[in-house]
Amino acid sequence: MMELLAKKFDMCRSRGDTIVALAILISSFYFLYLTFQLPIPKQGSTLDVGPRAFPMILLMGMIVLSAVIIVQNIKAKRICELTETPHPRNFWIGVAFLFLYAYLLDIVGFVVLTPIATYLFMYAIGVRSKKILIGGTLILWLVLTVTFPMLMEVQLPRGVWIFREISYFFY
């Protein structure tokens, strides 16, 4: 079947493709190991297949299919042309900022952190116009603060210490 598929679609070899499949393969094995550690409850129906059965079947499926993709890639004759544009350096900085935002959200709180993060993020992805930077930051902050915590009463993280006090001013 593997060869059939490889022939049928005239696969091309792509390194990124293989890396993704490999990542799936390795993590599937890891999760399969975890699945065997899952407790089987004594009580509960004797007819039930238990908490392990479904994940086990799915993980095995993932292992087989990702292996197929890796084999297809290795066997493929021609190398894929890279059509994607390379990432600008700032893109990864932007991504890092996003994760930093999530990390700091519990500490600094939504109200204070959001405008800072917005400004820095926009700067990082290459916005240089002062108007867009400052105006955009303010508008985004206003729209988000009004929509979520104020109108929808979402209890966004308030942060600690003085940041918590500041947040009480808004919601």
Binding site: M1, L4, L5, K7, K8, F9, D10, S14, G16, D17, V20, A21, I24, F31, L34, T35, L38, P39, P41, G44, L47, D48, V49, P51, F54, P55, L58, G61, M62, L65, V68, I69, Q72, E84, T85, P88, F91, G94, L98, Y101, A102, L105, F110, T114, T118, F121, M122, I125, G126, V127, R128, S129, I132, G136, L144, F148, M152, V154, Q155, L156
Partner: protein, 504 residues
């Protein structure tokens, strides 16, 4: 029948006062805004508005809530089409073809298809609600765990024909989505799976952060790579309804999607999101050209949009006729009804006919108002959004996704999930792994597992799946549907035909 007609007349007269009409229109506007905002779901809006309605009579109050509920299901597709950001979970399947069609330069057509299909599905659904709600609800109760499982299985089996260009990857992604649904507490036994002892993980992966991450954040990450100070190309969107010719071509799609959507909506605990994904899968399977799905074809928008609005009405069917909430929003509405001293159920039509018919008529009008009021909203919305420079728009989408994901469950874990899946989606798509099967797998995964295991327990083992003709039939069809693409290609290659020529 005359009882129904007089009921409908009573429904119309009881909402014919300035306050009720005003609230109905306000409900439509709120629904449009809420649906188009990622992270604000119909459920949240109804929960927020409920306490405000206690000063009102029950009819105007629930007329407004019904309007919000009906319209929010549609308007999620606006952002789904324009930015691949489903504003409401029900619009998940609309991103598959809606966004691609918009990207090809036809956002006005894509929005037109979405709007018209929603209108059609919702209106027909509301008519079914008015005419045969009790009978429909009773019929749906015959659907047990075995039948539900078989139905879900059939939708999952269609993943194999979803991306013909790369079946292996499509199926792998489908299984990946199913596996994501396994994370968290196992409903059947209470065992925690893959939570690494972290309490917030036991709630499992919520579908919305994953969906927003995979589709919206990844797309925004791509958007910001281009010159961030330039404005988007598309401007001034005038929604174009499908022409008569186009409509005629979609009739078979509607004939499949509408009853399917309505019926899935009636099944308790299944919901409009599932309905739209199942309708999409069914459409792929029924199509003679399944490979065209995902490239921006009208059927790919019409089927899910028709089905989700029909499903929203289906959830009202079982709520009003049996007092059973079929979805999260109707559960909140049921709570509100009880606080208003009303108890929907089989006796609702006898005890409070005025209320029952008023709500059903309001649902009908709200769905009709979709086609009347949303063009203006879309024009306003696109006018605002497309003036925003690209860098800021990308930031806005990402922030809305992050905050909106948090808002679903007030859980920080969802913030991490949306960002993580943003990157995952970005990487997967770059290397040609389709994202749609992940969403289908994740939404249907826990349902498939719990219904499977429930069948085993309630029907006394594996034979339970074949205890009814419906489930037996559906399971056999699923097996066929799954294997068919492989058989087809096997036959093709054995005959030595020009393989792959017509496929790519």
């Amino acid at each position: 029948m005359s009882g129904v007609i007089s009921g409908i007349l009573m429904g119309f007269t009881s909402i014919l006062d300035p306050l009720t009409i005003g609230l109905l229109i306000a409900g439509v506007i709120i629904g449009l805004f809420a649906g188009a905002t990622p992270g604000i779901s119909g459920t949240m809006i109804v929960a927020i508005l409920l306490p405000l309605t206690f000063k009102l009579d029950s009819i105007p109050a629930f007329v407004m809530l019904t309007a919000v509920y009906a319209v929010a299901v549609f308007s999620g597709s606006i952002t789904a089409v324009l930015f691949r950001t489903p504003g409401a979970p029900e619009a998940a399947a609309t991103t598959f073809d809606g966004y691609t069609m918009a990207k090809k330069g036809f956002p006005h057509k894509a929005l037109g298809y979405a709007m018209f299909s929603s209108f059609l599905g919702g209106t027909l659904g509301a008519i079914a609600l008015l005419l045969i709600a009790p009978q429909l609800a009773r019929f749906a109760l015959k659907f047990g765990p075995a039948e539900t499982f078989a139905l879900i299985l059939m939708a999952l089996a269609m993943i194999s024909s979803l991306d013909v260009k790369n079946q292996t990857k499509a199926i792998l992604m489908g299984i990946f989505g199913l596996f994501l649904a396994m994370i968290g507490m196992d409903y059947m036994t209470g065992v925690e799976r893959y939570t690494f002892g972290v309490p917030i993980l036991s709630a499992g992966l919520h579908f919305i952060p994953v969906l927003l991450g995979l589709f919206a954040v990844s797309e925004a990450l791509r958007m910001i790579q281009e010159d961030p100070e330039v404005k988007q190309k598309i401007e001034k969107i005038k929604t174009t309804l499908p022409t008569w010719e186009e409509f005629k071509r979609l009739i078979p799609t509607y004939i499949r999607a509408f009853p399917l959507g309505l019926f899935i909506g009636i099944l308790p605990g299944v919901g409009a999101t599932t309905a739209s994904l199942v309708a999409y899968s069914t459409e792929v399977r029924s199509s003679k050209t399944p490979e065209k799905f995902g490239t921006g074809i009208p059927q790919g928008i019409a089927a899910p949009e028709c089905a989700n609005n029909a499903a929203a009405m289906g959830a009202l069917v079982i709520l009003l006729a049996l007092g059973i909430p079929g979805s999260a929003t109707t559960a909140v509405m049921l709570g509100g009804l009880i606080l208003h001293g009303l108890r929907p159920g089989p006796l609702l039509f006898t005890l409070y006919p005025k209320f029952a018919y008023a709500i059903m008529v309001a649902a009908l009008i709200a769905n009709i108002l979709i086609i009347i009021m949303s063009p203006a909203f879309i024009r306003f919305f696109s006018n605002v959004v497309f003036r925003i420079p690209r860098g800021m728009l990308g930031t806005l989408i990402i922030l809305f996704c992050v905050v909106g994901s948090f808002a679903m469950r007030n859980n920080m874990f969802d913030v991490w999930a949306v960002l993580l899946f943003g990157l995952v989606g970005y990487v997967l798509e770059r290397y040609g792994y389709p994202l749609a099967p992940i969403v289908i797998g994740l939404v249907l995964g826990s349902l498939a597992e719990t219904e499977f295991r429930r069948t085993l327990i309630t029907q006394g083992g594996f034979m339970g799946f074949f205890s009814s003709p419906i489930s037996t039939g559906l399971i056999l069809v699923s097996i066929f549907v799954f294997v068919y693409p492989f058989i087809k290609s096997a036959i093709a290659s054995r005959r030595g035909l020009k393989v792959g020529s017509g496929k790519e």
